[in-house]
């Protein structure tokens, strides 16, 4: 398959939701009619200029877009190499890129007449974004969150509850993001008639990977225009962290057919790739879970293994199917950063740039610390700063305190 390169890396998925062998619609029959309805509703919305106009209005005045493209001067000087820019998604309302997708899906849900919104969340960023938009539009919101994540992301749990959402701690399995997604799907199967499942990443059954990518692509579209404005040309490289991969896909997708742009995705290597980690491309293989075929962490019998990462948002044993395909096509290079490397990057960025990043993009910064020094000063590197670190402060403080003791 690798010998036959497609004419475009941006034409997928096909009408059955496949990116090469990845993607698809591996769901229970109960959900299938609903997924076909959603596909139709999204196609109609996409073709409706009024939908686009309304969404652009909210993106500007409610989310606060466009997000800035910021030249990270001190980090650039410190690393001594490529000129580093941050795409400041952490400045969006709710503090991460997640809101771009949630706004789009909630508007589709409204068109479909759905009054009850469910979501899964890991770090809580997607849950907070969903709770926020549900508050804004007067919709019932139920967020499934692994009990372990409820514990380590308390600030976001409190935020969701203040916004009027019900947070359901999931007590099965490893009690993290994978289990939250299982419970969300069980709720969806039970409440099909009135419920819209707002998936937080570029995964799940078709049309979710495509739809979420489309809503997140505004990140890359803006970056392209902003870079043109300040530097008069395309960037030379893009770097983003990957759990399911929505912030990365949003940045990458508009650049996939620009061959001069090097693209790097950064998975969570946890304690290291030979130990507990959440790097499904580096340490997994193709399998079927949560409605799609993609790279997954599993044992030799096809039983899914738990991811592990310091970052609750990357703690998932799979990755969006389009990333799996871009990996096989060798269009994007997938790297990984360990918990310790991410912590170092977290500390460095806080002190050098006065920006406390979320632990998720700290993984991307960790790889920038390796990639940038090896590149010349006229190399333009864009990192997606996908979320802010407020939610991580108690957890990081605890880790640093223990490290000192």
């Amino acid at each position: 398959m690798n010998s036959q390169l497609p004419n475009s890396f941006r034409s997928g998925p096909d009408d059955r939701g496949h990116f090469g062998i990845f993607g698809g619609r591996f769901v229970a029959e109960t959900l299938m009619p609903l997924i076909l309805d959603l596909e139709q509703a999204y196609a109609d919305a996409k073709a409706d200029p009024a939908f686009q106009r309304e969404m652009n209005g909210y993106l500007k005045d409610y989310v606060g877009r466009p997000s800035p493209l910021y030249y990270a001067e001190r980090l650039t000087q410190h690393l001594g190499g490529a000129k580093i820019y941050f795409k400041r998604e952490e400045l969006n309302h709710t503090g991460s890129h997640k809101v771009n997708n949630v706004l789009g899906q909630i508007m589709v849900a409204r068109r479909m007449g759905k009054k009850r919104i469910i979501a899964e969340t890991g770090a809580g960023q997607h849950g907070v974004a969903t709770a926020t938009l549900c508050a804004r539009f007067g919709l019932e919101c139920i967020v499934f969150m692994g009990a372990v994540d409820v514990e380590r992301q308390q600030p976001n749990v409190i935020r969701m509850e203040m916004l009027g959402a019900t947070v359901v701690p999931v007590q099965v399995g490893a009690r993290t993001l994978k289990d939250a997604m299982n419970e969300a799907m069980r709720d969806w199967v039970t409440n099909v008639a009135d419920t819209f499942y707002c998936i937080g990443t570029v995964a799940g059954p078709h049309p979710y990977p495509m739809m979420v990518r489309d809503f997140q692509s505004i990140i890359g579209v803006e970056t392209k225009a902003q870079m043109q404005e300040v530097e008069g040309r395309l960037p030379d490289s893009l770097v983003a962290c990957i759990g399911g991969g929505s912030n990365a896909m949003g940045l990458f997708h508009p650049f996939l057919d620009d061959p001069s742009v090097e693209i790097f995705g950064v998975e969570a290597a946890g304690h290291g790739l030979t130990q507990l980690h959440a790097a499904s491309i580096a340490g997994g293989r193709a399998g079927v879970l949560h409605g799609n075929r993609t790279y997954l962490l599993m044992d030799r019998d096809g039983q899914i293994e738990e991811g592990h990462s310091i970052s609750a948002g990357l703690d998932y044993p799979g990755i969006g199917p389009e990333h799996a395909w871009l990996h096989e096509m060798k269009r994007v290079q997938y790297l990984s950063a360990t918990d310790d490397e991410a912590l170092e990057a977290f500390k460095l960025l806080s002190k050098l740039e006065g920006i406390i990043p979320a632990l998720e993009p700290a993984h991307a910064i960790a790889k920038v610390m390796e990639l940038a020094p090896a590149r010349p000063a006229d190399h333009l590197m864009v990192v997606n700063l996908s979320g802010r670190g407020d939610k991580d402060i108690p957890q990081v403080a605890e880790i640093l305190r223990k490290g000192k003791g």
């Binding site: 059955r16 229970a28 109960t30 299938m32 099965v172 299982n182 069980r186 079927v288 019998d301 096809g302």
Partner: protein
């Protein structure tokens, strides 16, 4: 192609009664006890045996069957061992149909072609794969039909008349009507709703229509058996099995009989039903 499933439904039709279809998880609570249980099922009154293939992420299952899967995996159950268990059962029973039920990933990882060869060889008659809708028929459904295995499809309350033909197109053996929108072991449907739904499906197919989800008692099984070609009972059996285990989740001398006794009572219920006129 005639499978043991087809033969069994023909015989039941001649008897004028519905089938009792039982579900238990392979390897729950351990492989030996699990084999002893399924071996005891035909004499207790099970007409068709469904065996769950345990999976870490059973997205359509409620707490009872989730826990059964966890017990089975802890006991070292794999798809290979599940097929070995079917082969061992088949040594002593040449006629009772065996249907494997579960999720696609363990089969995909086993390798579809090899799995179908090994399953046929072991004496498996049909497959129910929850996360393979007709949209993904090329994955396993079509190859299974070619290999001589029935691919049994789930139809649900959300499967409307427009969609039913697509769902039924490549279905064989029987149709499994999921009587509620929900996960296994949750609510029960009203008998009258089930009757209407079965009649609706029968307007589209001559295949037997079995009904499952939420059937827990002999009375409920009898109600369903009046309308349908078969009643499927799963979570209630899994619960009875679990209640017989010791504090550490191990089998006790009561485990096999706890399941067999409930199956016998359910079989009484099914056999006591008068089939509603069509």
């Amino acid at each position: 192609m005639t499978t043991r499933i087809d033969t069994r439904f023909k015989a039941l039709e001649a008897e004028g009664r519905a089938a009792l279809v039982t579900f238990l998880m392979a390897g729950d609570p351990d492989l030996k006890t699990s084999l002893d249980i399924i071996t005891a099922l035909p004499a207790a009154g099970a007409d068709i045996i469904e065996i769950g293939m345990p999976f870490t992420d059973p997205m359509a299952d409620g707490p009872a069957i989730q826990a059964a899967g966890i017990r089975a995996l802890k006991a070292g159950t794999t798809l290979h061992k599940t097929l070995d268990m079917v082969a061992a059962f088949r040594n002593g029973d040449a006629t009772t149909p065996i249907v494997l039920m579960g999720y696609y990933n363990p089969i995909f990882i086993y390798g579809v072609d090899q799995f179908l060869i090994d399953a046929k060889q072991a004496g498996v008659d049909g497959l129910i794969i929850v996360d393979l809708p007709p949209e993904e028929d090329s994955e396993l459904c079509i190859p299974a039909m070619r290999a001589g295995l029935n691919f049994i499809r789930l139809a649900t309350p959300t499967t409307d008349d427009k969609r039913l033909p697509a769902v039924l197109a490549n279905t064989s053996g029987f149709v499994y009507y999921v009587s509620i929108t929900g996960i296994t072991g949750s609510a029960s449907a009203k008998s009258s709703d089930v009757g209407a739904a079965v009649a609706r499906i029968r307007r589209h197919t001559k295949l037997p229509v079995c009904v499952g989800f939420g059937i827990r008692t002999p009375e409920a099984a009898r109600d369903i058996a009046r309308h349908a070609s078969g009643a499927v009972v799963g979570s209630a059996l899994v619960d009875a099995l679990k209640a017989s285990l010791d504090a550490d989740g191990r089998a006790t001398p009561k485990t096999v009989s706890a399941v067999a006794d409930l199956v016998a009572a359910l079989a009484q219920g099914v056999r006591g039903a008068k089939q509603a006129a069509e």
